[in-house]
Point group: C5
Chain length 101, copies 5
């Protein structure tokens, strides 16, 4: 899976492939140092991601292997919201927000 | 899904893979700022897209997950016509045309 | 699908994946202006394409979605011979040959 | 399969696609000389890989063809820990660690 | 399929995805002029390829469409040993070896 950051949303009233009612977010890919690669993609969200969240993106046929995207015409799906990324001993990303237990 | 803009069409009288009767459009990929990347692709259209439309492109096996492209030899399918793209608070694209309700 | 131009052929006597008897052509990818990208690929031909033909290439699992390539180990298949490409009002490619009706 | 080196881990408490309980590692791709390409990917681990291990990465739908990742929304899976890489007569990589028999 | 040249081998004692007993070769991709692109990949061999052989590589789910790789976690498989490549009238590659009839 690639890492990305949610930066926006797409609205498409005319669409196909069982996409009705699904949220389409714009995500920019991050490199291993979490720098913005300036390459983005439109994704179906399955985990309630919001703007600024660092997310896990699953592509190809695996993008359809979630309860929400089964039989949906998606080639890139958000399958996780990242809480922590460690490289060696170093925590390079820690998500901090109110609703975490 | 990637974002693209319809710029043309392809006619192929001799074709395989249940493509008979399906419209093949030429679409140029757009980056997140909606600039033309100068890379294009031929796609099966499932939503009645026209020239100039900003569209959602679905690739790989997911390109076949629509009613129209089931069992069709397509690796890139137009699955939505984009009405609105927001990055943060900013609307970077608004589709305006007569036939919208 | 990507656009390509047939430039040659590959002969492989020892092969696997139900490829026996199928023609393998070398195709160079074309960009939207039909310039040669100098990147090429070996493809199974399903439409009787010949050298110089501009063709539609279908990749990934969709490369197997034709009568000829069902269950064949191909990741890129020629699925159409292009007759006409229009960008806006402009015809950028017209195939002209004797055997067209 | 591509070659990579394990450099870290990702924790995501909110996730979809039957990923619960699976370890997600950060792997940087290596080129044929085993140099770090500075491009990384998040992968499901199926072989107990640890930091510093050189691993085999399997992508696309094949990433789901292991006992652990069947029906899991993964597009890149670690499917092997590399012990030895030979280019011609030359051993360019030999894994040496205590728990090898 | 892409063209490649076998340059080495990988040994991995700990592996998953029904890879036991299968030979994993290192292959460098060739461009259309058969120049080494310096990009390589680890592949399952299904045709008995040896070092120096020019081979056909099949990727994605099609990499599993051979008798040997059915249900195997491979995303790139060697599916043919190339004997001859012609571009136009010119033979740019002819394999010459003793065991050819």
């Amino acid at each position: 899976m690639k890492l990305g950051k949610v930066i926006g949303a797409v609205v498409a009233t005319r669409k196909e492939g069982k996409m009705e009612g699904l949220k389409i977010l714009v995500v920019t890919y991050l490199d291993e140092s979490l720098y913005d690669t300036k390459q983005s993609v439109a994704c179906i969200d399955t985990v309630g991601a919001g703007e600024g969240d660092v997310v896990l993106l699953c592509s190809s046929s695996s993008a359809r292997v979630t309860q929400i995207t089964k039989n949906v015409a998606t080639d890139t799906t958000i399958v996780g919201i990242v809480d922590l990324i460690c490289l060696g001993e170093k925590r390079i990303y820690v998500k901090s927000r109110g609703d975490l237990n």
